[in-house]
């Protein structure tokens, strides 16, 4: 019980300070659970980070679920996940109540026009940052270029094609490409997909 309360308070605190997205939060988690509490060892923490990044969902909630489960079972997972969401839920709920009226002020609207430019820039720089971490091989480049082109063409011609299909088709193509490589005997799996 004490552990669960401790988990709740820790994730409440982490949820309140995760400015700058999931990756900033990983440093915070490391400090709390490895250095301060000693509840996880470094290897398990690295596994957790890899899993949180490669499964769907935000890194913040994924790592809360994982750590909560490891430390106190299902109850720990539920409590930690709820705790990490509470601060942003409360803040955003309050903002949502007056956001429309806030935007009606003329100078606020001007400020937000400037901010919208910045957001386009931020999204582009996140994309470019991710681009640098990708593997430089033919398969990756083909997927990348095809999806960029199709995504823009579909938007321009107002074709209704959900991103979900892009994601699933690319995943299946990844498996197909892996199978083909195995059949043709070009390198083993570790070499191809690390």
């Amino acid at each position: 019980m004490k552990k669960i309360l401790n988990l709740f308070l820790t994730f409440l605190k982490i949820g309140a300070f995760t400015f700058g997205g999931g990756y900033a939060m990983i440093a915070l988690l490391e400090h709390e659970f490895i250095d301060k509490k000693g509840w996880l060892d470094r290897d398990e923490f690295l596994d957790m980070t890899a899993i949180a990044e490669s499964t769907p969902g935000p890194i913040a909630t994924n790592s809360a679920t994982y750590i909560g489960y490891r430390i106190a079972g299902i109850a720990g997972a539920v409590i930690s996940t709820i705790a990490v969401c509470i601060p942003s839920f409360v803040i955003i709920y309050i903002i949502s109540l007056f956001f429309d009226r806030f935007l009606e002020f003329r100078y606020v609207a001007y400020a937000f026009r400037g901010i919208q430019v910045c957001v386009v820039y931020l999204i582009a720089s996140v994309g470019i940052g991710m681009l640098k971490t990708l593997k430089k091989d033919v398969f990756t480049s083909v997927i990348l270029i095809l999806v960029i082109i199709l995504n823009i063409v579909f938007t321009v011609f107002s074709v209704n094609f959900s991103s979900i299909f892009f994601i699933l088709i690319s995943g299946v193509a990844g498996i197909g490409f892996y199978v083909i490589r195995r059949i043709m005997g070009k390198g083993d799996s570790d070499d191809a997909l690390s």
Partner: protein, 190 residues
């Protein structure tokens, strides 16, 4: 049934939002625009709000849309929806298949998903750029160039380059948002 629709829409977003943070941006964008929950510029404004407050973008977006469409209950339904899929997936992994990432099939799947997510983010940035800077939404729209937006973008890029090359520093998103808010007031106000 609005609450169910909110729950299911965000369940779908939560289930395929690989890549954290901005990974789900193109999907959220397409859903909230096509349902008429937000306009293009409200969407961009809200991303800025989400960047300036704690919490993951997907969760913040779910809470915001849920609340503006269906009050407190809507906010709870949408937020629960976006968190639930990953909650279940992580429990299964933590309980049963700790070495999930060592399976070749899973890694092969992710080797396709990663470039796709990157492409979707870049594609979203490009279509937003076309829409916001030159008013080009689709093949039928007439072009109207927003020169102030170009000036703000040029100043942001220039400032970042200067800091990076001369001082090896990076501006945090919040600082950049504040700077562009000031630029917006100055440029659009005159």
């Amino acid at each position: 049934m609005l609450y169910l629709k909110l729950f299911l829409t965000f369940l779908e977003i939560g289930a395929v939002s690989f890549g954290g943070g901005y990974g789900m941006i193109s999907l959220i964008h397409e859903k909230v625009i096509s349902y008429g929950w937000l306009s293009e510029s409200e969407f961009l404004s809200f991303i800025a709000v989400s960047e300036s407050t704690p919490g993951p973008l997907a969760v913040n977006m779910a809470t915001f849309i849920g609340s503006s469409q269906g009050g407190m209950v809507g906010a709870l339904a949408a937020t629960a929806g976006v968190v639930l899929p990953s909650f279940i997936v992580i429990i299964i992994i933590a309980a049963l298949i700790n070495n999930l990432l060592k399976f070749a099939g899973v890694r092969a799947f992710l080797s396709g998903v990663r470039p796709c997510i990157t492409a979707l983010i870049i594609g979203t940035a490009i279509t937003m750029f076309l829409s916001y800077f030159i008013g080009f939404d689709n093949i039928g729209s007439s072009i109207s160039i927003d020169w102030r937006a170009f000036v703000i973008l040029a100043l942001l890029v220039g400032l970042n380059l200067l800091l990076k090359l001369r001082f090896h520093k990076k501006l945090s998103p919040i600082v950049m948002i504040l700077i562009s808010a000031a630029l917006g007031v100055i440029l659009y106000g005159i």
